[in-house]
């Protein structure tokens, strides 16, 4: 019958078309998408659009992998196993092997600018949302600005020099990154907008201003979302990178005084890493569903360990491509020991540990994939409840102590810095130290290295102090004046934007 109906319909259509109007016959509307015009004029739509901006943080290009694993591979934290061949180029600081993915899943420039555009579109649309309450408007604006600031900060720390250590200041090609704060939704704008690199200062100013707004507008609705405290915590790190030490101190204090996140000590610190939501988190990226897991090839878990879980080390897990080097093993006194028979059972192996409680975050992996059993970092162990699913802590509250200690040192408050460092060492089961001057700064940075190993901070800590990257395995020495400190901007962006200067050396 349906067939006959269609037949009748088409004769009618033919008739109407012959009379001159076929436009209705040619109107086919998508069912899984809506028109971009007016898409954001209801509160539910804005909520959904904001979810997408958050969800882009999950990409392997951002916190799903690269901001933690790739940046640590560039630094002096670990070495590669060649189990799957990943991160070797980055670990060798090979030219071009540096935040340089060519596809959406791996390119942080693409993914971040898409997220920034989405956040800009939300901000642009806030005046037209029907039936929105003042509280909703404040939350949307605050969270959009928090996210925009985070994306810009992650981009500029990668693609540009950090204000505290700019190689050859004033050289034109070493600017910041394109700074866009208006959304693009028309082809006209998409074709014509060719944004040049803004100055580093202008980008940091924008990040400051967005985070100040977020602080003012937000409360907290869970650590997977931006909050006033998370904005302060991020601002503390941004200020540290900018050498704005007083600001770093004041924002760290604000963050520490907030009710968001806790600073853990002793065994509770290690257990914190075993909980789905790390209690230390002030802001974390949520992996809620098995479908969202990055999977066996590029998840943080697979990058760092061959284990599937800690209860049975013989279960086949990921690749374990990137493992601690001798420096990190020495921090925690790690070496392999056999704890039972037979030796062929991976469960009969573990590591020796010193008094540092963080040593509990390392153990032996397995040889199920045929590669050797290695000492691995177990900060990411499917703790969301499905394989390769871990919420990623972007900012942990502990960082605030280290930020404040470092900033206080730079402000000349060595006493406050030392006291804070020693208090923190106590939380990690370490003896107090009595240091002053340069040695105190070195100890603070060393503590930071130990605390954030496999969390993607080390490369930027070296970069912001203008220090060389020195590794023995593999044997690498990248001086601060080497062009490999910065990655290339995506070549297609340089090809397509005559106003965009490529980084030196590419």
């Amino acid at each position: 019958m349906k067939f006959i109906n269609k037949a009748v319909l088409s004769i009618v259509l033919a008739g109407s078309c012959l009379l001159g109007s076929c436009d209705s016959a040619l109107q086919v509307d998508p069912r899984q998408s809506i028109d971009a015009n007016g898409a954001l004029n209801t509160p539910d739509a804005v909520d959904a659009a904001l979810n997408s901006v958050y969800s882009r943080l999950r990409s392997a290009a951002n916190y799903g992998r690269n901001l933690f694993a790739l940046s640590d591979a560039l630094a002096d934290v670990g070495q590669t196993t060649s189990n799957s061949g990943r991160l070797i180029g980055e670990n060798n600081n090979q030219p071009n092997a540096h935040f340089n993915g060519t596809i959406q899943n791996t390119n942080i420039w693409l993914n971040s600018y898409f997220a920034i555009n989405e956040a800009n579109l939300i901000l642009d649309a806030l005046g037209t949302v029907q039936g929105a309450s003042a509280a909703q408007l404040a939350r949307w604006e605050g969270e959009s600005k928090f996210l925009r600031a985070l994306y810009y900060f992650d981009l500029i720390k990668i693609y540009s020099y950090i204000p505290t250590a700019i190689y050859q200041p004033g050289v034109t090609d070493e600017g910041g990154i394109p700074l866009v704060t208006e959304g693009v939704i028309t082809s006209q704008a998409a074709f014509n907008r060719q944004t040049p690199r803004a100055t580093i200062n202008a980008v940091y100013d924008q990040i400051y201003s967005d985070l100040e707004d977020a602080k003012r507008l937000l409360t907290s609705r869970g650590v997977q979302y931006g909050s006033s405290a998370a904005a302060s915590a991020l601002l503390s790190r941004v200020a540290l990178y900018r050498g704005d030490w007083a600001k770093a101190v004041s924002e760290s204090t604000l963050a520490l005084d907030s009710s968001v996140g806790v600073v853990l000590e002793g065994d509770a610190y290690v257990s914190g890493w075993r909980a789905p939501v790390n209690p230390e988190s002030m802001f974390e990226v949520r992996f809620a569903l098995a479908e969202e897991a990055i999977g066996v090839n590029e998840s943080l878990q697979s990058s760092f360990t061959a284990l599937l879980n800690l209860s049975n080390k013989n279960a086949q897990g990921g690749w374990g491509d990137f493992i601690p080097n001798a420096t990190v093993r020495d921090f925690f006194g790690l070496s392999q020991i056999q704890i039972g028979e037979p030796a062929s059972d991976n469960n009969n192996w573990d590591v020796t540990r010193n008094d540092d409680v963080r040593a509990g975050l390392y153990t032996t992996g397995n040889n199920v994939r045929g590669a050797g059993r290695q000492i691995e970092c177990t900060k990411f162990m499917s703790k969301s409840g499905f394989a390769y699913g871990d919420n990623v802590p972007v900012i942990r509250k502990s960082e605030m102590h280290l930020n404040r200690a470092e900033a206080n040192y730079q402000l000349g408050n060595a006493g406050a810095a030392l006291a804070e460092l020693n208090a923190f060492k106590g939380l990690r089961g370490l003896e107090e130290v009595d240091l002053a001057g340069e040695a105190l700064l070195e100890e603070i940075l060393l503590e930071r290295f130990k605390e954030f190993a496999f969390e993607g901070q080390r490369f930027f800590d070296l970069k912001r102090y203008g220090r060389p990257i020195v590794k023995t395995t593999p044997s690498v020495r990248v001086e601060f004046d080497d062009f490999r400190i910065l990655p290339p901007l995506p070549q297609r962006e340089v090809d397509g934007n005559t106003n965009l200067n490529q980084n030196r050396g590419y």
Binding site: A36, Q94, T186
Partner: protein, 647 residues
């Protein structure tokens, strides 16, 4: 089923039901470690598939730690296509020379896919098995209404005309899902899964309407002319630009019908043809012209939406204007026949995904970006080379040369911003699959071989100096994956009941990159992969050695610490030229009078081989492929022995 209702009306309906099911392999392309097409050439050959007791060897080391036989034994997958195709045609003779034809057709397909990743395989172990299911419904409805008229004047002027209307609607709708966590490997269907992993679906569709008309005229079959025109609208285009007009004209002069050639003993066929016509192309995404927000980006258990495409109200038809001159010829009673065609096809308003700067929040937009030219010559010669004593040798040779280049781009650009492979004067190449984006010309750094003194790979910079670390500024154009010369050569030799057919095809001029060969070209330096003997033999070993394969480094993924990786630039480009014996058949036809005694009208035995021999120096699996070639199942050699019997 046909039914002659009365002297004027006839009805015809046909309906065709079919179901087709096949087991599908683990993968037909891509670097899946369990895929034999990818792994078997790269896995180290000393790894046994079976242990001595007959069980699978699961202790295969290295990145290719999967036993491909085990994986393909334990995993399962099938694809089923159920089809209903129906047509209803009514023809009504209004006048003896005027008839109305009405066709309604429906093509309804259901594609079902079912895959199971066994928990005993490495990929299935982490998730304890995965079952995934796909259902894809495709509906295509078409109707054409035509009016046909013809008349002959004075017995010499033949005139016919046709006008019509066409409507086409296609929709695709699907649902797919996956579940993980199976009790044991025996449970292989999705309802046994502990955890639903994903659930998704899609809907898409488009419509096209067209009005068309044509007039045919010939004078004594000697002078021929056809004029046609179509006026088409497609729902895929921007609201302001949905319709296109596509006229064409074709004229012919059958010279052999002229008095001065009628009596010729040499010329048996001679016809000149010329045509000029426009056709439209709407092969883009169904909603490519629309600015949309789509459902994506769920976060923390809540749904997300994001902008997915930019609106392009001006997006319109791509128009192909073809100018063709041709000659059909036959000599010596058509013992030698063939044709020559010269063509120049201009593609105006070329449909391409125009790149958008990522800083503007999108990757690309479907747009009419410029003009493309395809010009060339096509020659076919067919002849009886020998016909003596019952022995006959027929041969057909054809040859095509085609030059493909971009003539112009919008705004007088020299190359497409953010995609310099699409550039004026350069070919656009062959898309991997029909409807895909053309890949553009190769635009990359030229490989200069290996430095004889130290074995390091070198490239040319833009000033033709040698460099170890080529830059973006050093890129040059280097051909495309489009073959410029191609054709075929068919031979049939027969003697009495025996018949031998040999069909060759050839291609020349394509430059390709082969993902599978690139892995093997690493010579095991990055990963513990098997190597090709000829690559390993060529690798640099001693000062003074001239070669194209760099020295073997086992550190740093096989790369020089301050140099580009060995497969950079044209180092990984290959010529895909070949001559192939595509088909060879030897057959014997039994004498009809002999076999009629046992009630047969025809009996034939034959042996056929496909792709038995290829002449090429291509180092990968096969020079004839589409896509990235990684994990590609190459063209198979195929032998058939057959008996054909007719009653």
């Amino acid at each position: 089923m046909t039914h002659q209702a009365n002297s004027k009306l006839s009805l015809e309906t046909n309906i065709n039901l079919s179901t087709f099911q096949q087991n599908v392999p683990f993968a037909v392309s891509g670097s899946f470690l369990g895929s034999p097409a990818f792994s078997s050439s790269a896995i180290l050959p000393h790894n046994a598939i079976y242990n001595e007791d007959g069980t699978f060897n699961t202790a295969i080391g290295g990145v290719l730690g999967q036993n491909v036989v085990l994986v393909n034994e334990y995993n399962s997958g099938l694809q089923r296509t159920n089809t209903v195709v129906g047509n209803m045609i009514g023809t009504y003779k209004i006048l003896p020379n005027l008839s109305f034809r009405s066709l309604f057709g429906i093509d309804y397909r259901l594609l079902q896919g079912d895959r199971y990743t066994d928990p005993r395989t490495p990929d299935g172990a982490g998730v304890r098995g995965r079952s995934s299911q796909q259902q894809d419904w495709r509906t295509r409805f078409i109707t054409t209404q035509t009016l046909n008229w013809n008349k002959t004047y004075n017995g010499v002027h033949n005139l016919s005309a046709l006008v019509g209307f066409e409507f086409l609607s296609e929709t695709r709708e699907g649902i797919n899902g996956a579940g993980i966590g199976f009790p044991t490997f025996q449970f292989r269907t999705i309802q046994s899964a502990a955890t639903p992993e994903s659930l998704s679906g899609f809907w898409t569709g488009y419509r096209r309407v067209g009005f068309f008309g044509s007039v045919n005229y010939d004078y004594k079959k000697k002078y021929l002319a056809t004029v046609t025109a179509r006026y088409d609208g497609s729902s895929r285009f921007g609201e302001d630009n949905r319709y296109g007009l596509f006229p064409s004209i074709r004229v012919g002069w059958s010279m052999v019908e002229e008095e001065f050639l009628k009596s010729s003993s040499v010329v048996s066929e001679l016809k000149l043809r010329a045509s000029y016509g426009l056709t439209g192309n709407d092969q883009i995404g169904n909603f490519a012209a629309r600015g949309l927000y789509t459902g994506a980006g769920n976060y923390s258990g809540n749904a997300g939406i994001r902008p997915s495409s930019l609106a392009n109200l001006n997006l319109g038809w791509e128009t192909n204007t073809t100018l063709n001159f041709g000659v059909d010829y036959g000599f010596f009673g058509n013992r030698l026949t063939g044709s020559v065609d010269i063509f120049d096809r201009r593609t105006k308003d070329l449909l391409l995904d125009q790149p958008i700067l990522w800083t503007n929040g999108f990757s690309d937009i479907a747009n009419n970006v410029g003009e493309l030219q395809n010009k060339g010559i096509e020659v076919e010669v067919s002849g009886v080379i020998l016909d003596r004593g019952g022995f006959r040798w027929n041969s057909t040779f054809n040859f095509t040369y085609i030059k493909n280049q971009v003539i112009s781009l919008y705004d007088d650009l020299e190359f497409l911003p953010a995609n310099p492979g699409i550039a004026v004067g350069q070919p656009v190449g062959n898309p991997a699959f029909a409807g895909d984006q053309a890949p553009g010309a190769w635009f990359t750094q030229e490989y200069a071989g290996v430095n004889p003194s130290n074995g390091r790979p070198m490239w040319y910079d833009i000033n033709r100096n040698i460099t170890y670390l080529p830059l973006a500024a050093d890129r040059i154009y280097y051909g495309s994956n489009l073959a410029t010369h191609y054709g075929g050569f068919n031979n049939t030799l027969s003697y009495k009941g025996f018949e031998l057919t040999a069909f060759f095809t050839y291609e020349y001029g394509a430059i390709v990159t082969d993902g599978q060969y690139n892995f093997l070209r690493e010579n095991g330096t990055r990963l513990t992969l098997n190597a090709l003997r000829e690559v390993n033999d060529r690798s640099w070993r001693e000062p003074g050695q001239i070669t194209d394969i760099p020295r073997n480094l086992t550190t740093n993924a096989g790369n020089e610490t301050r140099g580009a990786s060995r497969n950079t630039g044209t180092a990984s480009l290959l010529k895909a030229d070949f001559i192939r014996l595509s088909q060879v058949t030897v057959g014997y036809n039994f004498n009809p009078t002999l076999i009629s005694k046992i009630g047969l009208s025809r009996a034939r035995v034959y042996v056929q081989g496909l792709n038995l021999w290829t002449y090429t120096d291509y180092p990968g699996y096969d020079p004839e492929f589409t896509g990235a070639a990684t994990g590609l199942i190459p063209l198979t050699k195929n032998y058939t022995v057959g008996v054909q019997i007719g009653f």
